[in-house]
């Protein structure tokens, strides 16, 4: 049994995960919690948010995020990859700035117009 705090939303439910019982989750108040509890022990993932270099806009940085969570262990490698990326204005909110980061199948998107 492992106790966790769900990060699915600001409620922060206190979860108990039973590894010996197919990672059954209790203490959650929604489906997200059950999923989070299971994943957190088997393959923890996070959405990465950061900025990339930007040229020609009103700011020199453009905020970006992974469109879906990526493995937690890859966060620092993903930061390294994104430190090499430069976008040129005009950028549209939601536009892909990098496809399939580190072979995860997850795209990195801009999170503002620039």
């Amino acid at each position: 049994m492992t106790e966790l705090t769900c990060i699915g939303c600001p409620l922060g439910c206190r979860l108990t995960v039973d590894e010996e019982n197919d990672y059954a989750v209790t203490g959650n108040s929604c489906k997200k919690g059950a999923e989070y509890g299971k994943n957190e022990l088997k393959n923890p993932t996070r959405v990465l948010t950061t900025t990339v270099n930007a040229e020609g806009g009103i700011h020199g940085r453009c905020p970006v995020r992974t469109e879906a969570p990526i493995p937690k262990a890859m966060l620092f490698d993903a930061m390294k990859v994104l430190s090499e990326v430069t976008v040129k204005a005009p950028v549209k909110c939601g536009e892909t700035v990098l496809e399939d980061i580190l072979g995860t199948g997850v795209n990195v998107i801009a999170t503002r117009d620039l």
Partner: protein, 413 residues
Amino acid sequence: MYELAVIGGGPAGLAAAYSAYQNGLRNIVILERDKELGGILNQCIHNGFGLHRFKEELSGPEYAHRFIEMLKDTSVEVRLDTMVIEITDDKKIFINSPKGYECIEAQSIVLSMGCRERTRGAISIPGTRPSGVFTAGAAQRYLNMEGLMAGKRVVILGSGDIGLIMARRMTLEGAKVLACVELMPYSGGLTRNIVQCLDDFGIPLYLSHTVTEIRGDKRLEGITVMKVDENRQPIEGTEMDFDCDTLLLSVGLIPENELTREAGIAMDPKTNGAFVFENMETSIEGIFACGNAVHVHDLVDFVSAESERAGAAAAEYVKNGASDSEVIEIVNGADVGYTVPQKLHRNTKAEKIDVFFRVRRVFSKSRVVVSSGDTEIAVFKKAFMVPGEMQHLVIPTDKLRDFDTITVTAQEA
């Protein structure tokens, strides 16, 4: 003359302006001092915004973008690089913009100036005054908008959400975050942020600790942290020294209300914001306030909802004039730090009243009692309440109309 002038183009101002438009006003202006709309959301690049409203986890800029896009299809005028210098009780607004100094007039005003961070001066940390001591939000702006790192070895004082978010952000960008230090025995931030910003990166959280000395001549060289007793006084012999070049302060936010005070609007010393009615009207008819200028929120979704009420009420005021109503007062009972609103119009058309408050201490299983004298009007069960999380009650208005004062009390179940 404008029908409505909105002061500040952050999440509160955007939602208020859009709501006033939806409720029939066409001659609306947003006055924003920055070079773009969006306010603090522009630097809050982390995700987690908009779960209530959009059922998605957006980043701050994306959340702002949604509202900015909605406004594009309206007649709402946006004036950027425009600083409001003064407002008066007869709704004259003195501004300075690239066009110069001018006075504009409006039939109604929404105050949505947001809040500011408390600084080192507000908490009086002893020691020298080197560079390297930042508020967490200032460091966030440098990093996320200007691309500048505040430092390399970082300690964070205060466990408010901005501090926690910056612990993760600085770590991802290559800094070593040595510790997060919190004066109180509990965290001031959301639990999910403790997990995903500190625990994920092995950053220790020292509860009931504070910074007792700052060292360094030109640049910060180190700090001393000590454990505190139940009266928040440092305990001799518990000194820990940290070699760090950066100290980030996440020690609270103060609603920004210079304009409000100068206009003579009645202020609530508990929130540092204006006293407001259920429709977010202040003590001056036709002037409304919303968002972090009224009280500091945890979640932008609640800012947007509150600001929509303010915008709708401004539209109602412009169309139908002031509400001529008796007043019901909301009183803070035991362990309730403040409530918003503080007053109700007895004849309000709203069927339900949203009451927001913060508790003064940590509660496990508890109940919130709404009462008047010996009459219990409503009881809400809560599994868990902490001062760091804003509480929200929805009360049917008809249950309240017969009373002159209503008390909100927090109790152990």
